[in-house]
């Protein structure tokens, strides 16, 4: 596996007033890895994702993606750059069907213009066919084939989470960011999710995953970053993190408090 840092932050800080949600975090993700981000509630994990995908302007520090400084870019350009995310609080297009949700994910890769749409030109037809065919494949990848024509809002919870991942994959991201993809899933669903994540990773994509499910994290992650109260307190493989006194302290301290 190459040692290329596909994503890197340098002294990244995001402050909300006096609250240092993310504080001078230096971290990097190696290409091809499944990289975990863990930490107690309020550690700043989601905030970090928001900054990485352009939803929040960092208070300080820089973000590099494939060696290029992307700090402060607008969120709608993330997909084009090759970053796509899922959301901790599911954000599907609820009244659209599963396949339509995925088709939206292709947006920036398509070239249909207003006139193409009105006159149903060849470009329009090709785009539509591509999104339908590739969209169905993506649903299959996430084991959602049978749900293609169901409205997103009517799908079971765990299924909705997998649909979010399918939708994110539609933009063909080099780096996929998943915010608590297993939240609310039962063990069977989590196992299925774990298999899906491995499959995506085997396809050559880099994945960053925030998760509270430690078994899942330890199972799928090559490297793990631990945040606590906005600070990076540890980084390394599962073994390192598992035995790090600071990490144990952070979690225990919280349970005790």
């Amino acid at each position: 596996m190459s040692e290329e840092r596909i994503l890197e932050t340098r002294e990244l800080s995001i402050h909300f007033g006096g609250l240092k949600a993310v504080d001078k975090v230096d971290m990097w993700v190696l290409r091809g890895h499944v990289h975990g981000i863990i930490g107690p509630n309020g550690a700043g994990k989601t905030t970090l994702f928001n900054a990485l995908t352009g939803f929040l302007q960092p208070t300080g520090g820089r973000i590099f993606f494939k060696g290029v400084d992307i700090t402060g870019f607008p969120s709608h350009r993330a997909a084009e750059l090759g970053l796509c995310r899922s959301f901790q609080n599911i954000k599907l297009f609820k009244t659209m069907t599963a396949i339509e949700n995925v088709r939206v994910g292709f947006h920036y890769r398509l070239r249909t213009t207003l006139l193409d749409a009105i006159f149903r030109t060849r470009r329009f037809r090709e785009d539509e066919r591509l999104t339908l065919e590739r969209g169905r494949e993506l649903l299959e990848t996430m084991r959602l084939g049978q749900y293609a024509d169901f409205k997103a809002a009517k799908l079971p919870y765990g299924t909705q989470r997998r649909l979010e991942i399918a939708r994110a994959l539609a933009s063909d991201p080099e780096l996929l960011l998943l915010d608590e993809p297993a939240a609310g899933m039962n063990p069977a669903e989590t196992a299925e999710l774990s298999a899906c994540i491995r499959r995506i990773s085997a396809g050559g994509r880099t994945i960053v995953v925030i998760e509270h499910d430690m078994r899942l994290i330890m199972e799928i992650c090559d490297r793990i970053t631990v945040l606590n109260q906005g600070l990076k307190i540890c980084e390394g493989d599962a073994e390192t993190v598992r035995h790090d006194p600071g990490v144990i302290q952070a979690y225990l301290g919280r349970s005790a408090g």
Partner: protein
């Protein structure tokens, strides 16, 4: 398989509908009253389809549709009476004028949401009317612009209601077809995605601000077209026809028919044009009738008669609930066990 059957049924239905609409005026050739009602339905169907593209599909809230309608009507009036420009060139020009005006509204307000956007569209509509009312020589102020020549085609005058019926039918069909085509493309899907969840739409690579402005410009084009048709239909335009009431009526029709569906605005327009005709003795209270119709609809069927996308979520409650982040609910299994 099933969808093919549905599609076939739909094709048959549309063919029958088209035949009926084409044949209709033949039966009422001399009945100007009936023809006028039908023409009004078409005119409002265009205005409603236009508004529905905004309120029903991209989830913005425009209640000032009368302003864009007004721009179309005055553009046609000025072009025809002073520059001799006929309806066929005027139709797209009026549409474009409304679109350009929508940019003046849309660019500064694209980041506004809900009630704030609604208020600015309302204000915009009134500003347009006041500009027209105080436009001096250019708009002839309160006197309006009379003497708009009848529409013509290759030198034939289309002066009668019989002819204007077919023109209205053609424009309605064109509006609906083009809107439906655009909705069924990556552009329409982007608009609907914005309506459903703006942040997620952005994460999927949709420049949401630009697409909202785009949506407003595309949709108001059709209000401008309707205004142009109206000018040639009545041969006279005056600021009086474009009060806020007019915008409310159009909005009411869309709400009754159902936001976020193709058929909704057409049915809403038909119902709310026909009801006041039945209750002609209540002519003074036209707006009250509309209000009652809206209330009844909201009570019996909040998503409107054909309401498709926006509120059609089956069990209304459950979807709403998920707006609240369920994230906090499954308490993390962070506990030391794994660590």
């Amino acid at each position: 398989m099933i969808s093919r059957l549905v599609r076939q049924e739909r094709t048959v239905f549309l063919a029958l509908l088209a035949t009926a609409l084409l044949a209709f005026p033949l039966a009422f050739r001399e009945n100007n009253y009936i023809l006028r009602i039908a023409i009004n339905i078409f005119l409002y169907a265009i205005l409603c389809t236009s508004l529905n593209m905004i309120n029903g599909y991209s989830g913005q809230f425009n209640i000032g549709q009368a302003g864009f309608y007004c721009i179309g009507a005055y553009t046609a009036a000025i072009l025809s009476t002073r520059h001799g420009i006929g309806i066929w060139i005027s139709l797209p020009v009026c549409g474009l004028m409304a679109s350009v005006a929508s940019l003046l509204l849309g660019i500064p307000t694209a980041r506004l949401k809900g009630i704030f956007l609604a208020m600015s569209t309302l204000g915009f509509s009134e500003i347009i009317r006041l500009i027209v009312l105080n436009g001096g020589e250019f708009t002839r102020g309160p006197m309006g612009i009379p003497g708009i020549p009848p529409a013509s085609l290759f030198g034939w005058e289309l002066g009668t209601n019989f002819h204007m019926y077919y023109l209205a039918l053609l424009l309605t069909a064109l509006t609906v077809l083009i809107c439906a085509n655009v909705l069924d493309s990556r552009i329409g899907r982007a608009w609907i995605a914005i309506r459903e969840d703006e942040l997620a739409a952005r994460a999927m690579g949709i420049p949401t601000v630009r697409y909202k402005i785009y949506n407003l410009a595309f949709s108001t084009f059709w209000a401008g077209v309707a205004g142009c048709y109206y000018a040639f239909l009545s041969n006279f335009v005056s600021a009086d026809s474009f009060h806020l009431d007019e915008g409310f009526v159009i909005l009411g029709m869309v709400l009754v028919g159902g936001l976020g569906s193709i058929a909704g605005p057409l049915i809403g327009a038909a119902i709310l044009v026909i009801i006041p005709e039945i209750f002609r003795f209540l002519a003074e209270y036209r707006l009250i009738l509309y209000g009652v119709a809206i209330l009844i609809t909201m009570h019996l069927r909040p998503q409107g008669i054909c309401g498709g996308g926006v509120m059609d979520t089956g069990d209304a409650g459950s979807v709403r609930d998920q707006d609240e982040p369920p994230d906090s609910e499954p308490e993390p299994a962070t506990g030391g066990d794994g660590t």
